[in-house]
């Protein structure tokens, strides 16, 4: 029997100076969000299971806290905010002028082994930009994230920018099962050439295809990476992903933000709902990304309203682990 004083694994309690510090960080980050006219939305802490499971991907779906209500409906605690914001916009705010700018902060819950900068209960702060023009909104979201970091005193950071469409186009004609594909994705994400080689042999991929996937592991760097990638593929989907990336990179250069950006086409891990650009935010001195984001053009369709969208979120506990300047 557990005693009343025991705490469940993966939960946290803040008090004293830690509370003051956290509220300050929230306020400062939110001050940037509101300067960019992002309006706060407070979604529910739980919703129907399907709201989250659609688009999350099998791996993350396993981490949902599920429960059944008295009517027998399957519900889940929110593991992220984007699905809830998307649902609200699709069902109730679809007629508002675009782009819609919304921001949120609050707890998310995931049932996973508490390790490596992950808790079961954690705190996210983020924005969603819905229904706007693609390149401008992608760039805006990245700029907001950068300004928010600077506002809390972080001047050195790196945004790793990838494009989901590039990899998707690459493997489309391989005819792999979802399971095989997820294994390949995992190996690329781990930058593991040995495992990748073995897996490609098992799947009997042609030498040409093996070569391309191998090259993908090293497709990372500045704007030139996009050109290098272009020489590697001929399918339309990948090429259009690269055009898209090149357009965004040029826009970031124009906004004088590109020095913080690394193009990384081996960045293939993300929620299943991401369709275009994805990015992860790294800060020197911390072993985990402090935030991530991306474009999810098909998510709102699940809720009956077709609007392209992009957003990002900060993982607040990780942000708090950095030496911040909170003035």
């Amino acid at each position: 029997m557990k005693t009343l004083t025991q705490v469940p694994l993966g939960t946290q309690v803040l008090f004293g100076p830690a509370v003051k510090r956290r509220r300050r960080v929230e306020r400062l980050v939110f001050s940037i969000f509101s300067r960019w006219k992002y309006e706060e939305i407070i979604p529910p802490i739980f919703d129907y299971y399907d709201v989250f499971s659609k688009g999350m991907g099998a791996e993350l779906e396993e981490t949902l806290y599920r429960f059944v209500d008295r009517e027998g409906n399957l519900l889940a605690l929110r593991p992220e905010f984007t699905s809830l914001v998307a649902k609200t916009v699709a069902t109730r705010l679809q007629d508002r002028p675009k782009p819609l700018r919304l921001c949120y902060c609050g707890d998310v819950l995931r049932y996973e082994a508490p390790r490596g900068g992950r808790q079961r209960e954690s705190f996210q702060l983020g924005i969603e930009n819905i229904g706007g023009e693609r390149v401008a909104c992608d760039a805006e979201v990245i700029q907001v994230a950068m300004e928010a970091l600077q506002r809390v005193g972080i001047d050195r950071f790196q945004f790793n920018l990838g494009e989901m469409g590039f990899f998707a186009g690459l493997v489309e004609r391989f005819g792999l099962s979802a399971q095989d594909l997820s294994r390949i994705r995992k190996l690329i994400d781990r930058k593991d050439p040995v495992g990748l080689q073995a897996e490609m042999e098992r799947l009997q991929l042609s030498p040409r295809r093996r070569e391309v996937l191998h090259a993908l592991l090293h497709l990372t760097g500045n704007g030139e990476t996009i050109d290098a990638a272009r020489r590697l593929v001929s399918n339309e989907k990948s090429l259009s992903a690269l055009d898209n990336l090149a357009g965004l990179y040029a826009e970031l250069q124009r906004r004088k933000l590109a020095q913080h950006v690394t193009i990384d086409l081996s960045e293939v891990r993300g929620l299943d709902y991401y369709t275009g650009i994805i990015f992860k935010i790294y800060v020197p001195g911390l072993g985990f990304e402090v935030g991530s984001g991306g474009r999810y053009d098909n998510l709102l369709k699940n809720f009956g309203c077709d609007l392209p969208s992009v957003g990002f979120t900060f993982f607040l506990e990780r942000l708090m682990a950095l030496p911040l300047k909170l003035r």
Partner: protein
């Protein structure tokens, strides 16, 4: 040290004590990392190389992935066995080819003749519960794990379990204890692992070290 290296450019590397230690130090030497042998060979747990570009931690092998996952060490050298068992979320860009051996199911000759698939459950003593569970359940065979932290080869002799799962290098230790390999599970060698954030933020220094190690392997 010739010229001072800025602290943020120093790469910290977690190394495994014990089985991999000598081969690791030798490999680093071949890759042009000049270690002060008196330091590396001594019982010092933290030491630098001559250029001052690297800082090394000597750790218990199972702890290497942990230090790297948290970014306390930017890179690490750890056995594939340890990585499989820890399921750490780290990059694995290089197979270093040192410390080669196999992970295998083993037991006394009389046991080896019996087909464990016909048992209602297999009982296995091991230091590697995750690898073992994975191996048997994948075949649809229920497994009862007896977790041990060392001297696993004694378990059959002392009657704790008929079979074990452990690393086999030469097979000497097995033979000395009257055991033999029943079936191999996978090949094992040391891997270079890299923290996800370090891989991005210290890209140049990390790539340079990966390249130097890769070159020394091909030589």
């Amino acid at each position: 040290m010739s010229k001072p290296v800025k602290s943020e450019e120093i790469l910290s590397v977690a190394l495994s004590k014990g089985r991999l230690q000598d081969a690791t130090l030798e490999l680093l030497g071949r890759a042009g990392v000049e270690l002060d042998t008196s330091e590396a060979g001594s019982r010092k747990l933290i030491f630098r190389d001559r250029s001052g570009c690297f800082q090394f931690f000597m750790l218990k092998p199972v702890d290497v992935p942990t230090y790297v996952e948290y970014g306390v060490a930017d890179l690490g050298i750890a056995g594939w066995d340890v990585l499989l068992e820890s399921e750490s979320d780290v990059h694995q860009p290089l197979d270093l080819g040192i410390g080669r051996c196999i992970m295998a199911v083993a037991g006394p000759r009389t046991t080896a003749r019996k087909n464990y698939r016909e048992l209602s459950a297999v009982r296995i003593a091991t230091k590697y519960p995750r690898i073992t569970t994975d191996h048997f359940t994948r075949q649809g065979v229920p497994v009862e794990i007896i977790y041990l932290s060392g001297s696993v080869e004694l378990a059959p002799r002392l009657g704790l379990s008929e079979r074990i799962v452990d690393l086999v290098a030469t097979g000497r230790t097995l033979a000395d204890n009257g055991l033999q390999v029943i079936e191999p599970i996978c090949e094992v060698s040391a891997r270079l692992i890299v923290n996800r954030a370090s891989y991005q933020v210290k890209r140049q220094a990390v790539s340079r070290l990966i390249q130097r190690l890769a070159d020394s392997l091909n030589r």
